[in-house]
């Protein structure tokens, strides 16, 4: 009660400020409320129903959508695909990007040029890049045919193979992220205090020792940031699948989680089941984020 009274008293005193605050944050909060907060609650509700978008009444089915989820072969397959895609893209792209950044950090010429070249894939429209890659990977029409010719092997039909189609998508994911990450790594490397290296060199430390005990620890915040954003970004892959494979050649051999979600909702019109599918994804993203935050406390070393 007394809290309410204090609130009332400060309301009278600060009315102008408070009203200004509310007015300033209103547009964003209004849109968030309508298009983000409410849809989550509604999605949660829908996930307990069966509905096809058309009939006037939804059928309440309790947890049936969730139990069905666990028995759905497609669910497990697209989950596995997304897992493979996400970790391959993040680990390979970051590894190669770190290597490139180390090389660039050797005071090479043309750093600005490299920076431009490496950022370009990142800002290129994914749908457009995916279409170009369909042509690049074509065994007959693409430039790779010269390599196959030189090696005297049959051209690899990436998109017609149910194992390789997923890897074609992974290649595009890596291509898009590698340069972007290397620019971040380079900035991180250039921020490391040079005195640290000099002091260690005076003590007779080897190059490997410098790398292991100065470079790597100093770079963990950058690595961590790129991992978190990269994982969450990669988990949501959709455009590249829609343009390159549509989940094929034999569905769902290259379908990702979000792509299958889209199919369920807007091709099969299973609103309830798709919502349960979405809720699982939501929980997964939150768990991963929290897990990463916990882990980061252990091994990320922030500092100047």
């Amino acid at each position: 009660m007394s809290q309410l009274r204090t609130l009332g008293r400060s309301w009278r005193r600060n009315r102008r400020d408070w009203l200004t605050f509310l007015a300033f944050v209103a547009p964003n909060f209004l849109i968030f409320a309508v298009f983000t907060y409410w849809p989550i609650l509604y999605s949660f509700y829908l996930s307990f129903t069966r509905w096809n978008f058309l009939t006037p009444n939804m059928k309440f089915v309790g947890l049936r959508n969730y139990t069905r989820l666990l028995q759905d072969e497609y669910f497990w397959e697209v989950l596995g695909n997304t897992f493979t895609y996400t970790f391959s893209v993040v680990l390979i792209a970051q590894g190669l990007a770190f290597l490139l950044a180390l090389l660039l950090n050797r005071r090479v010429r043309g750093q600005p040029f490299f920076r431009t070249v490496s950022f370009t894939p990142h800002i290129t429209t994914t749908a457009a890049a995916a279409l170009v890659w369909v042509l690049i990977l074509d065994p007959n029409l693409g430039p790779l045919s010269h390599i196959y010719n030189a090696l005297g092997v049959q051209g690899v039909r990436w998109l017609a193979s149910s194992t390789l189609a997923l890897w074609a998508i992974i290649i595009v994911g890596i291509w898009k992220e590698i340069g972007f990450s290397s620019v971040f790594f380079l900035a991180g490397l250039q921020n490391i205090n040079k005195d640290l290296y000099e002091a260690a060199q005076v003590d007779g430390a080897s190059a490997w020792h410098l790398f292991r005990h100065i470079t790597v620890p100093m770079m963990t915040p950058v690595m961590f940031f790129l991992m978190v954003s990269g994982l969450i970004q990669a988990m949501k892959a959709f455009d590249v699948v829609a343009v390159m494979t549509e989940g094929g050649p034999v569905y769902p051999s290259s379908a990702t989680y979000v792509y299958h979600l889209y199919q369920l909702a807007f091709r099969n019109f299973r609103a309830g089941y798709a919502s349960a599918f979405a809720m699982f994804f939501f929980v997964a993203i939150i768990v991963i984020t929290l897990f990463q935050l916990r882990v980061s406390e252990k091994w990320v070393q922030y500092g100047e």
Partner: protein, 299 residues
């Protein structure tokens, strides 16, 4: 005796010269290797752009020839005209530009006011409210698709610019970036302005916004590219060809050309989609990289 002394004097000299030569050799070979690897990286990163540009200019016979040529024998600019007419690219362009610019302007404007309020205006439970804003970044658009679609249908916003502009106009990322920046602004400036009797709106528009102009430009660029490249949202909220944006228009072009191997037209269409973004990027690279990296810097 004498020769021994001379030997003792010259031996380290010899060693030093050898060592220097070995050092130089290592230096050069390492450098060569560095440039070689970086060169390969540049080629791989750039190859798709090269192949896109050359294919877009090839006559159709050279597109389907095996093995493919690296360069077109003649530059066939007509491909661009043909591609432009193969799908309603004029509509796609208008849709992408209008909705991209509008939602970017709103995004930056709303974020400007919100970030200012969170930094400079007193309000109870501000931190909790700010967390509520940041939490929206964790919620993927993907999981809101079904309810949002139903909502937009109810509002009769499907196939309208409203659907393409308004829901994406609120975004937590620009709020976060501007919030970080505003916290570093000198407080005295605000206090002096408040003493002069300026309202918050005046301080925001006359002091804070002009001081943050470079960052606002950077944030606007990142927002615009995000809107321009978006695929999933416009795919859900539009279904008429005339209301599609460029990325989906490109997929539409692909569908209409399927089976014909008209890759020169498809690549011309691809250039339509990415050229504006690339031009924008080349001219505003500094602000651009600034805008992207800002969000990454721990506050």
């Amino acid at each position: 005796m004498e020769s021994e002394i001379r030997m003792a004097a010259t031996a380290p000299n010899m060693n030093a010269r050898q060592a220097r030569r070995r050092h130089l050799w290592r230096h050069y070979s390492q450098n060569a290797l560095t440039y070689l690897i970086l060169g390969v990286a540049v080629v791989i990163l750039g190859l798709p752009f090269f192949w896109m540009a050359t294919t877009a200019l090839k006559p159709i016979q050279e597109v389907v020839i095996y093995p493919p040529h690296w360069l077109p024998s003649e530059l066939r600019w007509e491909n661009f005209v043909e591609a432009w007419h193969a799908a309603p690219f004029d509509r796609f362009y208008i849709n992408s530009v209008v909705t991209g610019v509008a939602s970017t302007v709103l995004q930056v404007l709303f974020a400007l006011f919100m970030a200012y309020a969170f930094v400079f205006i007193r309000f109870p439970a501000k931190n909790a409210l700010f967390l509520l804003v940041l939490a929206t970044m964790m919620i993927p658009v993907e999981m809101k698709l079904v309810p949002n679609y139903l909502l937009l249908k109810e509002l009769r916003w499907i196939n309208t610019y409203w659907a393409l502009i308004i829901p994406p106009a609120a975004h937590a990322f620009p709020v976060f970036v501007l919030h970080q920046q505003f916290r570093t602004l000198p407080r005295d400036l605000m206090d002096a302005a408040t003493v002069d009797g300026a309202t918050h709106t005046q301080i925001l528009l006359r002091v804070v916004a002009p001081m943050s102009r470079p960052l606002l430009a950077a944030v606007a660029l990142v927002s615009f590219v995000g809107r321009w490249n978006d695929y999933l949202w416009p795919l859900i909220v539009t279904n008429k060809v005339a209301m599609r944006t460029l990325p989906i228009g490109l997929a539409y072009l692909k569908e209409t050309q399927e089976g014909g191997n008209r890759w020169n037209l498809l690549m011309a269409g691809t250039i339509f989609v990415i050229a504006p973004i690339l031009v924008l990027f080349v001219f505003t690279q500094k602000q651009f990289v600034e805008g992207i990296t800002r969000g990454a810097v721990k506050g």
